[in-house]
């Protein structure tokens, strides 16, 4: 029976009759030449938008947790955490980018802290001053972006350094050290 034969997977099977499938995305259809240089980014969400930082800048990803409070800490510093014996500052990336009106309360007495959302993460990144944590809403994916698809931002000072397409999604590329500057 022909329909049962179609049950078996064949890499070269004809799927042209699957009209409900959306066409390949423009980026996939115009796939970059295989030898084009690509850069790896880690994408994550902040306030509903997808941002990305160079993967090479990320040391590790931690489940977000209550932090140790620093008296008179200045925003966007949230507090510090003990990372295997290294005191590591953690910053509110959303506040640093002007996406949030107020800093989260995640350090100090637990009863005074905001609830830590299940999907929140701390990206520990390499900076000139040593490892620094960035509080983000959710980590998404590692994306390999063709260099040719990256659109640089004209400003040389802003934390947002460019944009890139990843499938159907637009990534906002960040320079983390500029957020803290």
């Amino acid at each position: 029976m022909e329909r049962l034969r179609a049950f078996r997977y064949q890499p070269d099977e004809d799927i042209s009759d699957l009209s409900a499938l959306p066409p390949l995305t423009p980026r996939a259809a115009l796939a970059a030449p295989p030898n084009e240089e690509r850069r790896e980014y880690l994408s994550f969400e902040l306030e509903g938008t997808t941002y990305a930082v160079p993967l090479s800048a990320v040391l590790e990803i931690l489940r977000a947790r209550p932090l140790v409070e620093i008296p008179r800490a200045r925003a966007p510093l949230l507090g510090v955490l003990d990372l295997r014996g290294t005191v590591t500052p953690v910053y509110d990336l959303g506040l640093g980018l002007g996406l949030r009106p107020r800093i989260r309360k995640v350090a100090g007495p637990l009863e005074e802290c905001d609830t830590v959302p299940k999907e929140a993460r701390i990206l520990v990144a390499r900076t000139a001053a040593g490892p620094a944590g960035m509080w983000v809403d959710r980590v998404r994916d590692v994306v390999r972006v063709p260099v040719g698809s990256i659109r640089q931002m004209p400003s040389t000072e802003a934390a947002v350094v460019g944009q890139a397409m990843a499938g159907a999604q637009t990534l906002v590329l960040l320079e983390l050290e500029r957020v803290l500057a």
């Binding site: 049962l4 009759d17 998404r140």
Partner: protein, 142 residues
Amino acid sequence: MSAHLPEDETLELFTFFVGAQRYAVDLLRVDEVLPLMEVTALPDVRAPVVGSVLVRGESVPVVELRQALAEGPAPEDARPGLLVCRLGRRRVGFRIDGVGTVARVAAGTLGAPPVGAAVSPAVVAVWAQPPSSCRRLTCARF
């Protein structure tokens, strides 16, 4: 039913649940099973495709199998997931209500869906031996 397949040929099937019904696809089609993730709505898609998800940098269309198979609501103990299958050289995600097992069955135990029964065109065969509730699904015709 199995005129084109030797009766003693063994098929490896990946079984899963949609609603209370157990379905199966060719194990070779299965790329991975992911936790259910947020689906991005796409313009100009039509049912049963509901949008896409980003899987390791690739935009993968997502099919609502419950709608395609006219199944009822998920059972209370459902563990929803996204079954990523290969259709030709494309990858397509199917929303499922739970993962079953890998079953090895002889092609000779297959039966045609009952004539006139309200089954989706995607259902190509019914397992004639217990458990008889396991339907075969091509995942390629919706």
